[in-house]
């Protein structure tokens, strides 16, 4: 019924998009989870005799400037980037949901103070804020996660607050209050379940965003230590060779960043269409 108002052609394209996205995301997860334990190769193995080789059967993605296999480096890099993306995305969503829901549920002064804080933080470019945070720590995965998470809960908090505010004035909340529900019960049983689909969507969209931020920080040399493979570090170290006309050390890490990002966004889009109430408004009976 959700698909009732779409033409068959649009329905097919949508289905293809969802299947392709899910396939890519699945492949990416399999690769980063299975390749490192199964393939007993050292991604750090330096082979100076084979540096900057273009793609070949032996090295499908070629080698970097110290002869490391780029395919392997990319998989490891994606692993780190994805870890940062997922953990930071989830943390940001949890913080944002909690702050937004509490601000809206309490209202009054709490709401005003919290939302002004959110506005203030939002007015600072968040990459700048992120750089400020990582700069306080020694480079590593932890600080990058903290930096990305602490700069990305703001939009989620806004979305959740708006959603809760619109729900709070609904008669069904009145009915719960009149039925004796405590403040906590109203939030936990009636308000949060209603905003979870939105918050979940925000979380999925946050993962690729956080991956890009990790890459950006690493690219600027502020993220992960350079020996650790991450997509940002790979692109950063490949910069020099690009000027020499060696395209593969930049292209493949770049694709590893872009393709999973688009696939995740595709899945999130399908999810958004599912939770969109207008699509669910079945018959006019």
């Amino acid at each position: 019924m959700a698909e009732a108002d779409l033409g068959p052609a649009r329905r097919t394209t949508r289905r293809v998009r969802v299947i392709a996205s899910a396939g890519i995301v699945g492949a990416v997860l399999l690769a980063v989870l299975l390749v490192p334990p199964l393939v007993q190769l050292d991604q750090q193995a330096v082979d100076l005799a084979a540096k900057l080789r273009p793609p070949s059967w032996e090295h499908p993605f070629g080698t970097d400037d110290v002869g490391r296999d780029l395919l392997l480096r990319c998989v490891y890099g994606l692993r780190v980037s994805l870890l940062v993306g997922i953990v930071a995305g989830l943390t940001a969503t949890v913080i944002g949901t909690a702050v937004g829901a509490l601000a809206a549920a309490f209202g009054g002064w709490t709401d005003r103070v919290v939302m002004r804080l959110v506005d203030t933080l939002s007015s600072v470019p968040h990459l700048l804020l992120g750089i400020f945070i990582v700069a306080m720590f020694r480079p590593g995965v932890g600080p990058v996660i903290v930096s990305v998470a602490l700069t990305h809960w703001l939009s989620t908090a806004r979305i959740v607050r708006a959603e809760v505010l619109s729900l709070r004035s609904r008669p069904f909340i009145d009915a719960a209050v009149s039925g004796g529900a405590s403040r906590g019960r109203v939030v936990v049983r009636h308000l949060l379940p209603a905003v979870l689909p939105q918050a979940g969507l925000a979380a999925v969209l946050m993962v690729p965003h956080a991956m890009w931020h990790e890459s950006a920080l690493s690219f600027l040399g502020l993220g992960l230590p350079t020996h650790q493979a991450s997509l940002g570090n790979l692109v950063q170290t490949a910069r020099g060779s690009l000027l020499a006309g060696d395209w593969w050390p930049t292209l493949f890490p770049g694709l590893f960043l872009i393709v999973p990002t688009l696939a995740l966004a595709g899945l999130a889009g399908a999810w958004r269409e599912r939770i969109n109430p207008r699509r669910r408004s079945e018959l006019m009976l």
């Binding site: 019924m1 698909e3 009732a4 108002d5 779409l6 033409g7 079945e282 018959l283 006019m284 009976l285």
Partner: protein, 349 residues
């Protein structure tokens, strides 16, 4: 009470009534504005289920006539309206026919024809919630002018006075033309929507629950205005669950139950003496607070799981074995047990 069926009650399929002339005020010399024959709408649901939202509807609507289609919410009356406008969702299948006076077949017309020549031009829709029907970010004047340009081809300096005339026709005060929909009261929003519906000079006005949630005074004013526009050439199909509104303006009443029209009668006869013939219609009137205020027991059946025979039998005090067979609609009634007041002639021709 007699339980005998009318002598003419046919035991043949309902399609027999295809050739019957419409009851009541009659079509006169002109063809009916709308002629619906055997209209059915089925929704295909997940898991191969089907919902019979409208089954085998027959009625004619003559020029100058107001037909009220009444029934509980969920009986299929809004689906019928959407079918006439070609606004059903993709999983709906229609059968039968719905002919406009000029011969346009509404059920098979493609979207292009419906959009360019039917909606607004041959069927004017008065919506259920006018406030939601009007574009919130544009003034009433802007919307009237746009519709005028679109439907009548009025251009240039002629548009402004034409918009004012269109507003005046629906008694919309000229002083409020530059307001936005949210600045209008419910009654004025309703008039603005009516003015829009009238611009195309469509011969058929279709009002889908135009009075839901309105105050009694406003209900009366709204339906009176709709009636006023149902003059010589124009017909009004009023779809409503508000029996008082129907009583006020309708010439004829069609009662819908579980997707079927179960009774079609002159309004005067239906609301006055001798009253409705179908036990369901009888129950509906008895439920009014100005009458007995007694509900019909039970609830209507699901349109996805209709019984074999009469859909009302489970709630009907007169039901017996005969009700296991679906009573055919003979042009005025679909029931094995006609409700008849004493002294009434058994059957009208």
């Amino acid at each position: 009470m007699s339980t005998a069926p009318g002598p003419k009650a046919p035991m043949s399929p309902a399609s027999d009534s295809d050739t019957k002339p419409p009851e009541g005020s009659g079509p006169g010399p002109k063809p009916p504005v709308l002629s619906v024959r055997g209209l059915s709408v089925r929704f295909r649901m997940r898991g191969g289920r089907h919902i019979a939202a409208v089954s085998d509807a027959h009625f004619d609507l003559a020029a100058g006539e107001c037909l009220a289609l009444v029934g509980e919410s969920g009986c299929g009356k809004s689906v019928l309206a959407s079918a006439l406008l070609g606004l059903l969702p993709g999983n709906a299948r229609t059968s039968g026919s719905a002919l406009l006076g000029d011969g346009t077949e509404l059920l098979t017309a493609d979207e292009r024809t419906l959009a360019r020549t039917v909606r607004g031009r041959r069927i004017g829709l008065v919506p259920q919630s006018p406030a939601a029907h009007l574009t919130p970010v544009r003034t009433v004047r802007a919307q009237l002018e746009e519709t005028l340009r679109e439907l009548t081809g009025t251009r240039g300096s002629a548009v402004r006075p034409a918009a004012e005339r269109a507003a005046a026709r629906a008694s919309f005060p000229a002083g409020h033309l530059d307001r936005y929909p949210h600045e209008l009261s419910g009654g004025l929003a309703q008039r603005a929507a009516t003015a829009l519906a009238l611009i195309g000079d469509a011969p058929l006005l279709l009002a889908d629950e135009p009075t839901t949630g309105l105050d009694r005074d406003l209900v009366e004013r709204t339906v009176d205005e709709l009636r006023r526009h149902t003059d010589g050439d124009r017909a009004l199909l009023l779809i409503t669950h508000d029996l008082a509104a129907a009583e006020r303006i309708a010439d004829r009443v069609a009662v819908m139950y579980a997707g079927r029209i179960v009774e079609l009668a002159d309004a005067e006869r239906f609301f006055g003496q001798p009253g409705p013939r179908h036990p369901y219609a009888h129950g509906l009137l008895d439920a009014l607070p100005e009458r007995a205020f007694v509900p019909i027991p039970g609830m209507p059946p699901e349109l996805g799981a209709l019984p074999e025979g009469c859909a009302f039998a489970a709630r009907c005090g007169r039901a017996d074995d005969r009700c296991a067979v679906l009573p055919p609609f003979d042009g005025r009634l679909a029931c094995h047990h006609e409700v008849r007041a004493d002294g009434e002639e058994p059957v009208r021709a």
